[in-house]
């Protein structure tokens, strides 16, 4: 597994008496788009928050390009190239769209070049026309795009997307999926949490399924759609691809 950009081994997370993640292991190869699915409360967002260092790891290891990152602070992990977007959208609401993304770009650049990078990232997610709007004044789908641009501006190697397609219509969803594919083409490695099965099945190379904090399946979209355990726990019926 030398080409694994991200290798998670026996990762556990406990909140008091609640075992939110139990012995989760998986790897992500360079340039891969990995889907992460599971019912509500399965631990998807907890897993993301633990990977980026918001939650402390209870046990296990997280290796980013061979380097152990478990126990490091989020800004250190971001500097090493792993960041995420927030499910409930955590923008700096009182700042302009451009300034939101600028904060991410400042990780590796001075103010002047960060401003250029931020504008380029916003162009890329299709928000080049609203740079000076207040982030809090944007629509929900627009905010999700700002999240994505801000994460991109940090210059990541691996990016975790937590439901960036929530509340999007079909056209917008196709646009975001095209964008995610183009990011992969640029060499990014991507993990997506999403509830839209069509999006997950067409976008991802592989899928990991979580249920009650444990990995219950892993494989190609086609294999996952047929997996009886996954169907029982999550899909409800066999997914018609």
């Amino acid at each position: 597994m030398t080409d694994a950009v991200l290798a998670v081994a026996n990762l556990s997370k406990q909140f008091g008496g609640l075992q939110a993640l139990r012995d989760v292991s998986f790897t992500v190869a360079a340039g891969e788009i990995l889907g992460l699915i599971g019912p509500n409360g399965a631990g998807k967002t907890t897993l993301f928050n633990t990977l980026v260092g918001i939650h402390k790891v209870s046990a296990g290891s997280i290796r980013l390009e061979g380097r152990e990152i478990a126990g490091r602070k989020p800004h250190r992990i971001a500097a090493l190239g792993l960041t995420k977007t927030f499910q409930n959208v955590a923008l700096f609401m009182d700042m302009s769209v451009l300034d939101n993304v600028l904060v991410g770009a400042l990780l590796r650049q001075d103010l002047r070049s960060a401003r250029v990078t931020a504008a380029a990232c916003l162009d890329r997610v299709g928000l080049g026309a609203v740079l000076h709007k207040r982030a809090g004044d944007l629509s929900f789908p627009e905010r999700a795009r700002v999240e994505l641009a801000r994460a991109l501006a940090t210059g990541p190697r691996v990016i975790l997307l937590d439901e960036v397609m929530a509340a999007l219509n079909a056209v917008e969803m196709d646009a975001i999926m095209g964008l995610i594919r183009s990011l992969r083409a640029d060499g990014l490695t991507i993990i997506v949490v999403e509830h839209h099965m069509r999006a997950i099945m067409t976008l991802c190379d592989r899928i990991v399924v979580l249920n009650f904090g444990q990995k219950i399946a892993e494989g190609s979209p086609a294999a996952i759609a047929r997996d009886p355990q996954v169907v029982r726990a999550y899909l409800g019926r066999e997914y018609q691809a």
Binding site: V52, G53, I54, K73, P74, H75, A78, A79, T83, K84, F86, A90, L91, F92, M93, D94, M95, D99, L102, V103, G104, L106, L107, R108, D110, L111, A114, L131, H132, R150, A151, A153, T154
Partner: protein, 324 residues
């Protein structure tokens, strides 16, 4: 030229020329000098309270450290207050870094309470260590002839310009900080610390830097105050009401996080206090405090986002219109 710069230039010109029309040993120039000092102090507080949104109620700790450091060095070793000011600023900055460690994770009220406690602890220490500080009896700056080196003048006029220079300097620091990378990071931390961390902002570091800057400047202003008043005691420099709450109140009333806020706030609050005291103290006891309190409440009710908020909103509209 930007309108805010024009406004600043006009204000500065007026401030520079105004004393020429006043009695240099009079009451009015003293009030103005104190007003400028408190505007500068509140601007220093604004770096932590406004940019990082950390509602410190303990800034008297730094102010008192500065006042006592330079004065003790002057009394015991005859050192120039300028050197004392540097030493005090260094101590104030170090103390700010120290206080940052346990208060780092605290937000909102908890941070305010913790800083309040640190300020009070300093007051108690100053009171109970008379061999160093003079204790509750206070400490006096030894008299010297007029001298810039010893920062001592009989007239109020030089102090007026000293405080004006201090205010300009601190405001410049605030403006440059706010517009720079640190300012962006601090605002990000203020709006959403988790999101800021995840996109690479070292939240602990930027908050500590802001605290160190703010604490160091506050201590330097403590020296300026000591030289101006010649005499102070723990209550006047470490006091919760006289310093900590007052500098926070000035910034909040004027407009927190804005460069103009502390200046506008100081020019409302300090003269208001003086007026309330001088006009009403002859009458019923406590009436001046009551009137002062009611006026403050009225201002806050009418303009809860600060006195400069309507102007800020206007300027923002103007900027977006130009950006389009």
């Amino acid at each position: 030229m930007r309108p805010s710069l024009v406004l600043a230039a006009v204000a500065l010109t007026v401030a520079a020329l105004l004393p020429l029309t006043l009695d240099p040993a009079g009451y009015l120039i003293r009030v103005l000098t104190v007003t400028l000092l408190f505007a500068a102090m509140s601007q220093a507080w604004n770096i932590v309270g406004g940019l990082a949104n950390q509602m410190s109620l303990g800034h008297a700790a730094f102010f008192g450290i500065g006042a006592y450091t330079s004065t003790i060095l002057l009394v015991n070793y005859g050192l120039s207050p300028w050197i004392g000011m540097l030493a005090g600023a260094a101590l104030g900055a170090a103390f700010a870094a120290l206080v940052s460690v346990p208060t780092m994770g605290l937000r909102g009220h908890y941070f305010a309470l913790a800083t309040l406690a640190f300020g009070e602890v300093m007051r108690v220490i100053a009171n109970s260590w008379p061999s160093l500080t003079g204790g509750p009896a206070g400490i006096s700056v030894p008299f010297a002839p007029d001298s810039l080196l010893m920062l001592q003048f009989k007239s109020t006029l030089p102090y007026y310009y000293l405080m004006l220079a201090a205010l300009v300097l601190v405001t410049a620091v605030f403006v440059v900080t706010k517009a720079g990378a640190l300012g962006y990071r601090l605002r990000a931390v203020k709006e959403n610390p988790d999101a800021a961390e995840v996109v690479g902002v070292d939240t602990a570091r930027v908050k500590t830097i802001a605290a160190v800057m703010s604490g160091g400047i506050m201590a330097a202003l403590g020296t300026a105050y000591a030289q101006f008043t010649f005499f102070f005691d723990p209550e006047t420099v470490f006091g919760l009401g006289p310093i900590s709450i007052r500098v926070a109140l000035i910034a909040i009333l004027g407009g927190i996080g804005t460069a103009a806020g502390p200046i506008v706030g100081a020019f409302v609050i300090i003269p208001l206090e003086e007026l309330a005291n001088s006009w009403l103290s002859a009458g019923t006891a406590g009436l001046s405090q009551l009137v002062y309190g009611i006026l403050l409440m009225l201002i806050i009710l009418v303009q809860p986002r600060g006195l400069v908020a309507p102007v800020e909103a206007l300027a923002a509209r103007w900027r977006t219109r130009r950006a389009r």
